[in-house]
């Protein structure tokens, strides 16, 4: 039981790490970005390439994944996303689906369609026993890493000036502009940061979620789910949502394997009906 809970938490942590960027984007810019998974995938592939072709060790490849995805996010935001901030949701959906298709096709062309194998360093493999339950060492590492990042993120949002500007822009962009806050720059930095985190999540998640060229489509639903259920624009909402959904999914598959993915979708519909504005209860 504890083992299952722990697995769910680990799974949820990865989902959260990837989705937090999307939450900020959707809450801040009111932009439906279905291509968010592509940034996660990019981070994953950068990590794989760094490890297999450049011989970089896993832990060093992680920041590379972050930086690469953040850079990609910054560039795309400046050039393309920015022009669609006021556009209809339909246009945003189409645009981001188009970007997603392009990213999948590129990944397939560069790496082939199959799963990318990644060899974790020895000290992250295997299991450790505690109070009669076996815990995967890698999953422990994962939960710890995400916990640290979440704390840092929370501190960034709550204690720094950038965080204050971000919160102001989410609450009311017009008023924030009126106060002299450069909302456009806040958007850019937030988007880059969110994309970078997604990339990091993609790299960390290879072991848990797998990585292949169709990653963005496969997991898009889960990321959207986390953000919408958690409430776009907040950090804590998606965290709760991700952990909840992670545990539900894993527990569902463990205890009732016949139900499969049914549980998570049913849970989503129920949660959406009960909390139309999301768990975090912030402006959607």
């Amino acid at each position: 039981m504890i083992g299952v809970l722990f697995d769910g938490v680990a799974y949820g942590s990865v989902l959260f790490l990837v989705s937090v960027g999307l939450s900020v984007t959707m809450g801040l810019m009111n932009f439906v970005n279905l291509a968010h998974g592509a940034f996660a995938m990019a981070g994953g592939y950068v990590c794989v390439v760094a490890m297999t072709r450049l011989g970089v060790p896993f832990l060093a490849a992680l920041p590379l994944a972050f930086l690469a995805s953040a850079a990609a996010g910054a560039v795309l935001e400046r050039t393309l996303y920015r022009r669609l901030y006021g556009a209809s949701h339909l246009d945003q959906v189409l645009f981001s689906i188009g970007l997603t298709f392009m990213s999948i096709a590129t990944a397939t062309w560069l790496f082939g369609p199959s799963q990318q194998p990644v060899r974790l360093p020895e000290f992250l493999r295997g299991q450790v026993s505690f109070a009669g339950v076996d815990f995967g060492i890698y999953r422990l590492f994962l939960v710890a890493a995400v916990a640290v990042i979440t704390l840092l993120l929370g501190a960034l949002v709550a204690r720094t000036r950038f965080g204050a500007r971000l919160r102001a822009a989410v609450d009311d962009p017009q008023a924030a502009r009126g106060l002299g806050i450069d909302v456009d720059r806040v958007f850019s930095v937030a988007f880059a940061l969110g994309s970078g985190l997604a990339g990091l999540g993609g790299a960390l998640g290879i072991e848990v979620l797998g990585l292949d060229a169709s990653f963005p489509l496969k997991f898009m639903v889960y990321f959207l789910l986390v953000v919408v259920v958690g409430g776009a624009g907040s950090v804590r909402g998606p965290l709760a949502a991700a952990l909840l959904l992670g545990v539900l999914d894993v527990a569902g598959k463990y205890y009732v394997p016949q139900a499969g993915a049914f549980v998570i979708y049913a849970a989503m519909v129920v949660l959406l009906i009960a909390f139309p504005a999301g768990l975090g209860r912030r402006r959607a």
């Binding site: 299952v4 076996d134 394997p257």
Partner: protein, 387 residues
């Protein structure tokens, strides 16, 4: 001496050749060539190319023309439309390929109505050959390769097994056949679980297995992407360290991905009808030809051999019938086909139009830098127990 008669005879022969150079034989190959199962189609096509490399592509004066169609994955609707178009628009003489059972099942009625022989090169559930009198299978069936594993396990002192299969026809076939054979031999199946065909996540299932503490787990998932994911989960949870053996059908240690999976597969015992390590002159020739014409593919796997043997059968039919390629006559020949394949001797059972072959028990060993499925036991002339 060059007489006028000889010159006239030579002239006549030269003039007769264009008349004898008949229409090509069209073979429509329907399989996934893109998406996660892209390797299915590519392996089959690779096997066909290897056959042409060794034996040429012209038989009885007729050239065999391959029309390749992509189903993009386990997509029976697309397969059905492609098959319909091949039959009505391209007027193919043979249908071939079929990576997944749903594809074959959807195509079957079309083959019957169009009276076109359908050569199944991979789809592996028992029911496929019953859906049309024009279907002949050259791959294998899941019960055929699963039941010997059960027999071997029982013979070697394994009493309690947990089974894990993918939830579609071949998986269910495998589970049923294994259970039947294993319990008949005195063993006990402690529990069974079925995982979804698309995007399965193995961790919770593997955890369940670990908690049940069986002596061994028998599993079947489609070869390639999923076998990699399963091995990852198996290794990560430390099932081997907990003393749980892994026995499976050869889809787990698919030759195509075996090297990518690497070390965790050492010692895994599987049962299957083809290993690239099979020691025979036909296999050596096959491997050599394969490497020459398929530079972008790695090793051939059982789907590559399915493609090779399927094409061999078509070639035999063309050789014998030449310009009189009548569907029913072709079926007669196909039903009684016997070949020496790179996998070993194979034959078709005329009563069921399904394949009869040797199933080998193999262990993964490392030779030099590479991993191979090394055969160490076998069960000859296994028919499909699912019928």
């Amino acid at each position: 001496m060059i007489t006028t008669r000889k010159v006239l005879a030579a002239l006549a022969a030269a003039l007769a050749i264009p008349a004898a150079a008949a229409e090509p034989v069209k073979v429509g190959v329907v399989a996934p060539f893109s998406g996660g199962a892209a390797d299915f189609g590519r392996q089959m096509e690779g096997g066909i190319k290897a056959y042409f490399k060794l034996h040429g592509d012209t038989f009885a004066g007729r050239k065999i023309e391959i029309l390749v169609r992509d189903t993009t994955g386990p997509n029976p609707e697309i397969a059905k439309r492609l098959v319909q178009e091949l039959v009505t628009r391209d007027k193919v003489d043979f249908l071939a390929g079929f990576g997944f059972t749903p594809e074959a099942l959807a195509a079957a009625p079309v083959a019957t109505e169009a009276k076109t022989p359908m050569i199944v090169m991979n789809a592996a559930s028992s029911v496929v050959t019953t859906r049309s009198p024009y279907i002949v299978r050259f791959s294998m069936t899941l019960p055929q390769v699963s039941a010997p594993m059960a027999a071997w396990a029982a013979k070697n002192g394994i009493r309690k097994v947990y089974t894990l299969v993918t939830d579609y026809a071949p998986g269910i076939d495998s589970e049923t056949a294994f259970k039947a054979a294993f319990t008949a031999a005195g063993g006990e199946v402690v529990d069974s679980v079925r995982v979804p065909l698309r995007n399965p996540e193995f961790a919770p299932y593997v955890q369940r297995i670990k908690d049940a503490k069986p002596e061994a787990v028998f599993m079947f998932v489609p070869a390639g992407e999923q076998s990699v994911a399963f091995m990852k989960a198996f290794e990560e949870r430390g099932l081997a360290k907990a003393g749980i053996k892994l026995i499976a059908t050869g889809d787990l240690t698919d030759d195509n991905v075996l090297n990518a999976m690497g070390e965790p597969t050492l010692g895994v015992i599987t049962s299957h009808h083809y290993s690239a390590a099979h020691d025979s002159p036909e296999n050596k020739a096959f491997l050599k030809a394969w490497a020459e014409v398929n530079k972008d593919l790695k090793r051939p796997n059982f789907m590559g051999v399915g493609g090779y043997d399927g094409m061999a059968a078509i070639a035999e039919v063309v050789k014998k019938l030449g310009n009189n390629l009548d569907a029913d006559k072709a079926m007669e020949l196909l039903k009684n086909m016997k070949l020496t394949s790179p996998r070993g001797p194979i034959a078709i059972d005329p009563a069921t139009r399904d394949i009869v072959q040797t199933v080998y028990v193999r262990r993964v060993e490392k030779r030099g830098d590479e991993y191979w499925n090394v055969e160490f036991d076998k069960y000859p002339d296994v028919k499909d127990p699912g019928k």
